[in-house]
């Protein structure tokens, strides 16, 4: 791994917020995150009292449950120097939306703000805080990268993963058309409005197939599961992985939704 001078002195203590989808569906992404963080010089901890960031409740309008979950996350993680999540949407929830949940609450508002100030999405944390330039991985693959919406528009993650991918030996990046357009996942949207979600993801996989890539990467497991599910339903043999797996050089697990048609 190659780094410039990190923005933090010493070995920062990082709490890994794995996210519920990674915990339940794709532990490999959790282990890849740990490796990337450790290689970058972090001391990584995985608090056991973690479940989900609360987005399903938040986006359904259930403020009470959202707040209860947010308090639980803050309590479990506020002791770390940094809180890092391998997901733009969950990281944006912690970083951008938690403070608003406690507005006007004398006990919690400052606490939530202090917590949010330490939260980061994994890849941008590696590049922007730990100043990682090259993760030392290698993989022979033609990859295309989908910009997940929250990471892109709420956290400004666009160049960071591409810079790191450019330094992965053997990787050729083939940009797809409209890589910054939503994949149609949208959390509960994809089941509440299944047909519309399908129309959106159908366009997306058309662009993925047309890119000529054989491996689709992104930084959010929800989007990845949606796109992988559609690619496989359409009989595409494009494989799908979280970008952290490739950057960590950990691609021994079968890809998301398996390989082949």
């Amino acid at each position: 791994m190659t780094l410039n001078e990190p923005k933090v002195a010493g070995q920062p203590r990082v709490g890994l917020f794995a996210t519920c989808l990674v915990d339940l569906f794709r532990p490999s992404v959790g282990f890849a995150s740990v490796k990337l963080l450790q290689d970058a010089g972090c001391e990584v901890h995985v608090p056991i009292a973690q479940t989900c960031c609360g987005q399903p409740a938040y986006n359904t309008g259930d403020k009470a449950d959202t707040r209860a979950i947010a308090e639980q996350v803050i309590e479990a993680f506020e002791g770390f120097d940094f809180i890092v999540a391998p997901s733009g949407s969950c990281a944006a929830m912690l970083k951008k939306h938690y403070p608003g949940l406690f507005e006007g609450d004398a006990l919690w508002e400052d606490r939530a703000k202090a917590f949010s100030g330490k939260c980061h999405e994994l890849i941008s944390f590696l590049t922007d805080v730990m100043m990682v330039r090259d993760t030392g991985a290698r993989l022979d693959a033609k990859v295309t990268y989908h910009d997940s919406c929250s990471g892109l528009r709420e956290l400004g993650i666009q160049e960071q993963p591409r810079k790191l991918l450019a330094n992965v030996n053997g990787v050729e990046v083939h940009e797809m058309a409209d890589s910054d357009v939503c994949c149609g996942f949208g959390g509960t949207f994809c089941v509440k409005y299944s047909d519309i979600s399908n129309a959106i993801v159908t366009k997306k996989v058309g662009n993925i197939d047309a890119s000529g890539a054989d491996l689709l990467l992104a930084g959010d497991l929800g989007c990845l599961m949606n796109m992988a599910g559609k690619l496989k339903r359409q009989g595409s043999d494009v494989e799908v992985r979280h970008v952290a797996e490739v950057l960590a050089g950990m691609t021994s697990q079968p890809p998301i939704a398996g390989s082949g048609k």
Binding site: A18, C20, V22, D23, L24, F25, R26, P27, V29, G30, F31, V46, I48, T51, C52, G54, P56, A57, Y58, N59, T60, G61, D62, D65, A68, I69, Q72, C149, S150, R153, E154, V181, C182, F185, G186, G187, F189, C190, V191, K192, Y193, S194, D195, I196, S197, N198, A199, I200, V201, M225, A228, G229, K230, K232, R233, Q253, P254, A257, G258, S259
Partner: protein, 478 residues
């Protein structure tokens, strides 16, 4: 129009299989987005202008009463009339009275979403007055008995072949063999037909993009020049506009104009930007004898001071719907309301109540592209979420979603129980996934598997595997 927002899913299902519509929607995705980007890229200060535009409107909204009164004074001073309409019904009645007093049998109309909002055409027709839409898109959908599917491109759901067949159906006085294969020939034909109507019209009705408080001026922006003819050729000009269209000064108007057309069509400026102040003066060569402004509230003042106030900054450029993946998929009519797309998903519940419109703020992936392109920096996803909160508080959220959420939250709030359930459930689900590592169908996951496979989980959860690894490490260390 009849509000069918709560049938959004049914409307959308029809839209998704309508091949003509799907073809037309491709134009929205391809046309507007690239043009906007190009014009924005050419203006380095665009984001600063957006901030400025937002601040101007925020200032107005904080002092709306004062600016409205100032505007009224200036309109009166210029010889115009101001009518205050609290509801859509009030506005319809006022406009009808003005038309009747003028003895009008035909009125021409410039493009106006507000007159759609108050369903003016139906009301005029019911009272024996013929409204003639003069904007090409509006004219086309009037011929078809439809409503706008887009706030700046009302007929964007149609293809030129459909318009050609409508023109041949209605314009029976023109030669049958004429060539209507190109959009420009359709435009010329509409112009020719409409030209006659302008002269026959007694009253011209327009909307307004801005109402300027310092001068009492109404401003419209158009690309066809139809608005100018509408408002100068009739004896009476009626402006129907909602109260939040106020801007303090001409200078402020110029500021916001710089972001309006760029965001809408990618033009630096619309072809026509027309300023109207009062009726014709003694030495004016043309203009109306009477100038009326109908100021519509229709629920807007109730939005002030609430979490929906920011919506009143909207300048109706359409950029949010032009960039919305849901709008691209289903088009504007599926929303079943006057205002479609993301701005409609926030505004419609404010105007019509969340009970009848709850589908709209839910039908969003929260991708945030609307907010990213909004020239007035309106936080549209945030406000859609606020509507979801209002629904949830009042138990309007559909029961399946509510129970599903509550079941999930029960575990999410109990990490120990969550781990226990996951440590049994996920390995089992993983086994069921077999060697393909995915499910083609799965009970209770029909919403997902109807259209896509569900990736199988790897097996043990991350927390399980991590705990085991840490234990092994400790044992090895000891």
């Amino acid at each position: 129009m009849e509000l069918t927002s709560n049938k959004f899913k049914e409307n959308a299902a029809r839209a998704l299989v309508d091949l003509q519509l799907q073809k037309a929607l491709g134009n929205v995705e391809k046309g507007f987005i690239g043009k906007r980007q190009k014009s924005v890229d050419a203006l380095p200060e665009f984001d600063a202008l957006r901030d400025n535009a937002r601040d101007i409107k925020n200032h107005v909204l904080a002092h709306l009463d004062l600016y409205l009164e100032e505007y009224e004074r200036k309109v009166l001073a210029a010889g115009g009339h101001v009518h205050w309409a609290e509801t859509a019904e009030d506005a319809r009645r006022i406009v009808l009275e003005i038309c009747q007093k003028a003895g009008a049998r035909t009125v021409t109309k410039g493009k106006s979403m507000i007159t759609e909002e108050i369903a003016l055409n139906d009301h005029l027709e019911a009272n024996g007055i013929e409204p003639v839409e003069t904007d090409l898109g509006e004219y086309i959908i009037q011929l078809r008995g439809e409503h706008p599917s887009h706030i700046i491109a009302p007929a964007v759901h149609l293809n030129k072949e459909q318009v050609e067949s409508d023109f041949r159906r209605v314009h029976t006085h023109l030669p049958e063999g004429r060539d209507l294969s190109e959009p420009v020939s359709l435009l010329s034909e509409a112009r020719e037909v409409l030209r006659q109507r302008y002269f026959a019209a007694d009253v011209g009705i327009t909307g307004a993009n801005f109402l300027i408080a310092e001068t009492g001026t109404s401003v419209i922006v158009t690309n066809e020049g139809n608005g100018d003819l509408t408002q100068t050729l009739g004896k009476v000009h009626v402006v129907v506009a909602s109260i939040e269209k106020i801007v303090p000064t001409l200078e402020d108007t110029a500021q916001i104009l710089r972001v309006l057309a760029r965001s809408a069509t990618g033009q630096d400026m619309s072809v026509y930007t027309t300023f109207s102040t009062g009726p014709k003066r003694a030495d004016d060569p043309d203009g109306p004898d009477e100038y009326h402004v109908v100021l519509l509230d229709n629920g807007r003042s109730a939005m002030l001071g609430t979490e929906y106030q920011d919506m009143l900054r909207c300048i109706r450029c359409g950029a949010c719907m032009n960039h919305c993946p849901v709008y691209h998929a289903v088009g504007g009519h599926a929303y079943g309301s006057v205002y479609p797309g993301p701005m409609g998903a926030v505004l419609t519940p404010s105007l019509n109540g969340i009970d009848e419109t709850g589908q709209l703020p839910n039908a969003s992936t929260f991708c945030g592209r609307c907010e990213a392109v909004c020239p007035m920096r309106i936080p549209l996803p945030k406000m859609m979420r606020h509507w979801r909160e209002r629904e949830f508080e009042r138990n309007l959220t559909p029961l399946t979603a509510r129970y599903g959420l509550k079941a999930w939250a029960f575990f999410a709030k109990r990490p120990r129980l969550y781990r226990l359930a996951a440590s049994f459930g996920m390995p089992l689900l993983s086994l069921m996934g077999g060697s393909s590592r995915r499910f083609h169908s799965l009970p209770f996951a029909g919403g997902w598997t109807r259209h896509r496979d569900l990736p199988a989980p790897e097996g043990r959860t991350f927390l399980q595997a991590w705990a085991q690894r840490e234990t092994q490490k400790q044992e090895a260390g000891q």
